[in-house]
């Protein structure tokens, strides 16, 4: 017979399958990369300041703004020159004067364009940005600076006012806030006293203590309030008179200006500094203007704290359940049923967990806790309403199947030889489990935690009914005893995206924030995961069960 070793046997199906698998993987990768690029492009571009352009329009009006995009006029035939008429979208700012931040302008209406060097961009606490020119700086009726001196003076003053504003905020939030918190506690103590109605000498003694304490606090409150009024007056003492592009004059307190820049004078370095400062503000400041401006720090904080609390609940719970299922439970119908139930639990829609959390944690447990420990605050619920504790517990319930399954797999992967080695030294089953098996299974268990973290950080639906809010007055962690306030409501990045994108009064302004917030949510999930992965790799090295 002829030697056919060199003839290639055709394997059409196998080749096609290889291409199919490779193609599927590539498409997934492209989708992921595309997602990140879209988010980064739209989100990160928002903080970059372009030059401001002054436009003279055919109707004689003038606007100054940042040109954001250009597109063909929809539904227009090409003109005589063969070109479709274009229009541009301009961020004109000055919402207090014109009623809206953004305008579409037909290019046909533009008479001339220029980039005036002395144009100003002011970011304000209210009404969004102001585009225009500085006229003069005043304190009351006294004129501080005018003309060419006005800008340097304004810039210096804005920086001073920023410090004053920070001090004011500290005073209001921390010092006055603590006193308020203490006064509220005394009020509750008084109600508690009325409810408990202890015998006479004790009652008077406690009442006297409460009255005395309240008086001291009230005195401090009055002093701080007076200080606050004074500081606020000082903050608003200076005003700046501005002129918009169309000549309208506007006077506003310098204290209301967050940031003042001359976008057409600063170079690339200045622009970069501005960019970084805006990004920093975004991640570190509180939101303003119904979440469409300022930062999203409370949402980041709420998300991270909720996820960490959840891990604290879900880890021991899931691991103990897995240890029982894998190590102690005798195989049988019931154990099999439990396993099936656990696996199915992972597939229950998350909103169902939310409803369960509301009915069980919030109403039943929270309501009972209120009746037993906080009766003085009723009918205002303390724990009987959504809060970060209930939200974390709900999510812990949602993610516990994932942890159980992974922990079981981790335990199963510990070789029998290692267990026998420990038992042969006279260790009991529990000692073996605790000292040898669990450490060796730790990487597998952490894999479960990573999956749980990813799932929990992105979950929004169940949280909407167990404690997430669009704007939380205070963080669940602060300087007032007992520091961690489990009953408080919290903000969450996922809900923030929904709220900013779809519930906000100023959708145009909020759109880039949706992308930026989404990008940040991904970053938060990624960094929590990265942390867990680092810990896992460390443990893997330490407790590797096979080496040769």
């Amino acid at each position: 017979m002829r030697n056919r070793l060199h003839e290639r046997r055709p394997d059409r199906v196998g080749d096609a399958l290889t291409w199919l698998c490779g193609g599927a993987l590539s498409v997934s990768l492209i989708l992921i990369v595309g997602l990140l690029v879209v988010l980064a492009w739209h989100g990160l571009g928002y903080f970059w300041q372009e030059r401001l352009t002054a436009l003279d329009l055919r109707d004689g009006s003038k606007v100054v703004g940042e040109i954001l995009e250009r597109e063909a006029l929809p539904g227009q035939p090409p003109g005589p020159d063969g070109l479709v008429p274009q229009r541009i979208r301009v961020k004109v700012g000055n919402r207090d004067l014109t009623g809206s931040d953004f305008r579409w302008i037909d290019e046909a209406d533009i008479v001339s364009r220029s980039e005036p060097r002395d144009v100003l961009l002011l970011e304000r606490l209210e009404w969004g940005n102001f585009h225009g020119f500085v006229h003069e700086l005043k304190r009351g009726d006294e004129i501080l600076a005018r003309g060419d001196d006005a800008w340097p003076a304004l810039r210096k003053l804005v920086a001073e006012k920023a410090e004053e504003r920070d001090a004011l905020e500290r005073l209001e939030k921390h010092e006055l806030g603590s006193v308020n918190y203490a006064i509220e506690k005394e009020r509750l103590a008084e109600r508690r006293l009325a409810l408990e109605a202890p015998p006479e000498p004790e009652r008077s003694r406690r009442e006297a203590a409460i009255v005395a304490e309240t008086q001291t606090l009230q005195a401090r409150y009055d002093a701080l309030a007076a200080q606050l009024v004074e500081a606020r007056k000082k903050l608003l003492a200076e005003t700046v008179v501005l002129v918009a592009a169309d000549g309208t004059q506007k006077e506003m307190p310098v204290g209301a200006i967050v940031r003042a820049v001359e976008p057409n004078r600063i170079g690339f370095g200045g622009r970069l500094r501005l960019y970084l400062s805006r990004v920093w503000e975004f991640v570190s400041a509180n939101p303003r203007e119904s979440n469409t401006e300022g930062g999203i720090f409370p949402a980041i904080f709420g998300t991270v704290m909720m996820v960490l609390l959840m891990s604290i609940f879900v880890m021991p719970f899931g691991v103990i359940a897995a240890v029982y299922l894998r190590e102690y439970a005798k195989g049988g119908v019931i154990v099999r049923l439990v396993r099936i139930a656990v696996n199915n639990l992972a597939g229950v829609p998350s909103i169902v967990f939310g409803v369960f959390g509301l009915g069980f944690f919030v109403y039943l447990i929270g309501g009972t806790v209120d009746q037993l420990f906080h009766p003085e605050a009723l009918p205002t619920p303390t724990y009987g309403t959504g809060g970060i504790l209930w939200a974390s517990l709900t999510l812990a319930l949602l993610t516990v199947p994932v942890v159980i399954v992974s922990a079981e797999e981790g335990l199963a992967a510990v070789p029998k030889a290692v267990r026998e080695g420990s038992l042969a030294l006279g260790a009991t089953k529990f000692e073996t489990l605790w000292r040898v098996v669990l450490p060796a299974a730790a990487p597998g268990i952490l894999t479960g935690l990573i999956l749980a973290l990813s799932r929990a950080a992105g979950e929004v639906a169940p949280l909407m009914i167990v404690g997430m809010v669009k704007l939380a007055p205070s963080l669940p962690l602060d300087g007032n005893f007992p520091f961690v306030h489990f009953e408080r409501k919290f903000m969450h990045l996922g809900f923030h995206i929904y709220d900013v994108g779809f519930q906000s009064p100023n959708v145009e302004a909020a759109k880039p924030l949706v992308f930026a917030t989404a990008l940040l949510l991904i970053l938060v999930v990624l960094s929590t995961n990265l942390l867990a992965i680092l810990v896992r790799n460390h443990l893997r090295q330490k407790y590797a069960t096979r080496s040769i």
């Binding site: 080695g421 030294l425 260790a427 080496s547």
Partner: protein, 272 residues
């Protein structure tokens, strides 16, 4: 699971195939073992001498490992195991319900076929047994770790890296570490289940040498597939086949002049 010792007629060892042993530390009396319905050991009766090396030889699946694992009741872990007959350790039944199996395993240590160091440091591997028995003093532990590692002829090789993972050691070192771990709790008997089957000849030679030293202080029972090894280092040899003890005697006699044809066929390599 409990293993009531069966009170049967005293099974007298067949003098033809049993050596005279003055001071047995372990006596097996009519031991039978079933995995479910399958009988793995059939009515085995033998005595293990103190401070000697006893080797179990036989083809795969003959029950020698199963018999070895009866001595520290490691078969308890397997579901569906039933045991008849008795094993006496210093004259007392190890299947007595009052026996604490953890204490038994402390006194009857074991080294496995595949080295199974814990995923911990070398130091912690050796100290493990002492720690679970409540020893906390670092100074005492240091002493025990050094003594055990010296006892297992490993000290000089690892004394500078006690805090490194035990999994970084070579296969032979790992096996000696497992021996060190076993002798750290000062057992009376050490069971060795094919301790050299995964090792190269040099590592094997070291372990065999070590066994000769350990014999001064401990009773060793070793399961081996390697006939030369049994001939080289054991004092007594038992040949098992299909769950039965075929022949048991002093190693020299058994290898030079086996009493039974089956034994002769096996040790001369005609089957197995």
């Amino acid at each position: 699971m409990s293993f009531p010792p069966t009170e049967g007629p005293e099974l007298v060892p067949d003098t033809a195939t049993s050596p005279r042993i003055d001071k047995p530390i372990l006596s097996v009396e009519g031991l039978s073992l079933w995995y479910g319905d399958a009988e793995a050991l059939t009515s085995i009766t033998m005595e293990i001498p103190e401070r000697r090396i006893t080797a179990f030889i036989g083809p795969s699946g003959c029950g020698k490992s199963t018999l070895l694992r009866c001595f520290n009741r490691l078969n308890d872990l397997i579901d569906g195991v039933r045991i008849g007959g008795d094993i006496r350790f210093h004259g007392a039944s190890i299947f007595d319900p009052r026996v604490d199996v953890n204490t038994l395993r402390t006194r009857v240590g074991m080294v496995f076929q595949k080295s199974n160091p814990f995923p911990k440091t070398i130091y912690e591997n050796v100290a493990y047994g002492c720690r679970i028995h409540g020893m906390q003093q670092t100074r005492d532990l240091d002493e025990i770790v050094e003594r055990s590692l010296r006892g297992a002829a490993l000290w000089d090789e690892v004394k500078d890296r006690l805090d490194e993972s035990a999994l970084g050691l070579s296969g032979g070192q790992q096996q000696r570490l497992c021996i060190a771990r076993a002798i750290a709790v000062e057992p009376e008997v050490i069971l060795l289940d094919e301790p050299c089957s995964a090792l190269d000849p040099i590592a094997t030679a070291k372990i065999e040498e070590l066994m000769q030293e350990l014999k001064q202080q401990y009773t060793l029972v070793v399961v081996t597939h390697n006939m030369q090894q049994a001939a080289r280092c054991s004092d007594y040899t038992a040949f098992l086949y299909l769950g039965q003890l075929i022949e048991y005697g002093e190693t020299g006699a058994l290898f030079v002049k086996p009493q039974l044809k089956q034994t002769e066929d096996y040790i001369t390599g005609r089957f197995g």
